[in-house]
Symmetry: C2
Subunit: 436 residues, 2 copies
Amino acid sequence: MTYDLLIHGGTIVTVDKDQRVIANGLVGVKDGRLACVRPHLASAPLPDAAETIDARGGLILPGLVNTHTHLPMTLFRGLADDLPLMTWLNEHIFPAEGAHINPETVKLGAQLACAEMLLSGTTCVCDGYFHEDDIAAAVAETGMRAVLAQGVIDFPAPGVPDPAQNVATARDFTARWRDRHPLITPSIFCHSPYTCSAATLEKAKQTARDAGVLFQIHAAETEFEKNQTLKEHGATPIGYLHRLGLLDEATLLVHAVWLTEQDIDLIAAAKSPVSHNPQSNMKLGAGIAPVPALLQAGITVSLGTDGCASNNNLDLFEEMDMAAKLHKIATEDPTVLDAETTLGLATRNGARALGLHQTTGSLAEGKAADLIIVSTRPAHMRPLYHPASHLVYTANGADVSDVVVAGKVVVRNRELLTLDLESLLQRATAMGKTIA
Amino acid sequence: MTYDLLIHGGTIVTVDKDQRVIANGLVGVKDGRLACVRPHLASAPLPDAAETIDARGGLILPGLVNTHTHLPMTLFRGLADDLPLMTWLNEHIFPAEGAHINPETVKLGAQLACAEMLLSGTTCVCDGYFHEDDIAAAVAETGMRAVLAQGVIDFPAPGVPDPAQNVATARDFTARWRDRHPLITPSIFCHSPYTCSAATLEKAKQTARDAGVLFQIHAAETEFEKNQTLKEHGATPIGYLHRLGLLDEATLLVHAVWLTEQDIDLIAAAKSPVSHNPQSNMKLGAGIAPVPALLQAGITVSLGTDGCASNNNLDLFEEMDMAAKLHKIATEDPTVLDAETTLGLATRNGARALGLHQTTGSLAEGKAADLIIVSTRPAHMRPLYHPASHLVYTANGADVSDVVVAGKVVVRNRELLTLDLESLLQRATAMGKTIA
């Protein structure tokens, strides 16, 4: 066979269920899929290929999966920090969104986000925002794999001035993007149990079920939310969602910080995946999700960066490092979230959380060729004993040299090939001046 | 005046006591010192200079100060992770040190560490280890500013087989390195209150006092240590050091995690500086130092990475990000350790902790020209509203483009000029194979 793309010479970190690591690896890509993932004798000739990447000195691993963000908020990166949550939201973020979010700016912000993510090794992202049609069109140009959700909230929102139309707008979005683009999967995102009525939550989830798409929701992020839900509904946020019949395998629970043991049992029984956003939770002082307990209960925990305004970047390598260290200190147990487990959250579990585990999240023959190469040449990567350790504790996004999505090389030698990056960055900088 | 070096066009983040930020800045260097730090009209001609750096699109700030590490442990980066503290130390780190630490390997590890630190924007480091003469010789070649301490411990140690000679060895080291090299300041490092007897602690501190050098000690790192000190000495680790008369302005307390309110009062009264090592404390599950309370008490808190084996890199940008987020979540208060405060820990406070505040730690005329340029060109740095926010929450070491120490350009366009990096990295990789 003549491969479309051949990557050779690096160490393959498959992140498959057996955590196979293959020295002197060979990855062959055909028709966007992994046709071979195997060792290669240095003395043997390389198979024929239309394009070849020499990955010597590199780690070849699945592209990272970011299961929660709000792409256009790159435009608000660092606009307001170090503030109480409600001051930050009500006096800075919501007003900035009201003044500046429109179809043009969401495109710009989404492409800036995709550029940053691809350059730092994320190949698949899950977004929830507004003007999602425009976001989807913008993301499609970047070559990134994405699950994109139109937001639903019971307030006037960007592009949805009449909240009565919120679920219909989301339904229409999912209909328009069904099978429209090979890399884009539509979804529905309800903002939270405290900003959507029970009727809205039920209707949105039913619409997602009817369309066969992922339903996403911020849930149990803050103690304030937990107390308010207890007071208004006599249940924890998770208990309330359970009572409404919203928990199932296709409901992605974002944050999941303030959980009781019973909540964990409910999530486990429903097989709902969780998007853990440690840096956002830390920066906003929201709380620490009980990730070791969630994993112990068999729940699919994945990693998200959240929007740039509460992080303030989209580097999943930093998110892995922070996640592992946060839970070690929270439990005072250095053995929890070991490097291999943490790498799994950002890859295999991310794909599973989004329902894309047949497609991406590990390097296995037959899956899509979504992969990255991490250089081990920099000083901070020497020496190297265990690849997973370096990927979690040592590397950051700047160590990513090459990125492939569905077999297409989108980053080569740290250069983004799918967008005019310089023009994009100039427009982002100009928009920042307008916003400031 | 003709400057030796002129840096122009960037935004100067002085990190001085007024937190001045100077757009279109001009930095002039003469005889290794900052001769001018001021704004420059784009229309005006540039002053004459032997060497000029165009810093447009960059942030010009003081070089970062890492107040605690063990340089040669770069060689053990990622050798053992995710283990209980005592297993990690007794079964992995101590045996690896016993088998592999010698004058040759400490040089290699120290140069690897300096290469990594300079390339990621750290211009001044404080080390405590063994074979410190060899480390000092190796560090001197790198062009880095350093406070280097010979270790004292009441066990046989690398290069000090007879513990009875531990303080004398440290004394001789400080004598040999007094005024020997303009960038190197000698110091004495006692390992801890639980590995050194009261007599050793007192003698080592007296020796440091006599030599007029900084005394460093790991103190109150783990709950185990606190309980053991309470049991053996009837005092907390800090109370015990106070009783021995060891606390003063020239005693750097490393970790300072397990503190009572009275301990904080003792540290504040003695004006002892603290080296906070959040990533090491998190990764080892040691505990969370009460940094907001220490700052509130007027204590000089600085940042350290600790050795590479418990971090696993030496990137102070990541350390700032982690520190700010750790204390927000620990206190559930997003306003603590704001970006400007956190940037101060890694610069101004670092210099003060080491007694080098007349020399380095901020950009002010008359101080040494220790500065770095951080690029704001990458996607993850756009847009930019507040420089301190980007430096703490967004940037990492790979964004550093240029590094100047004492007026000498040691990194230019991300290239290290003082060492043969490729040869160094090859030797580090080869040593890793031996160790593995």
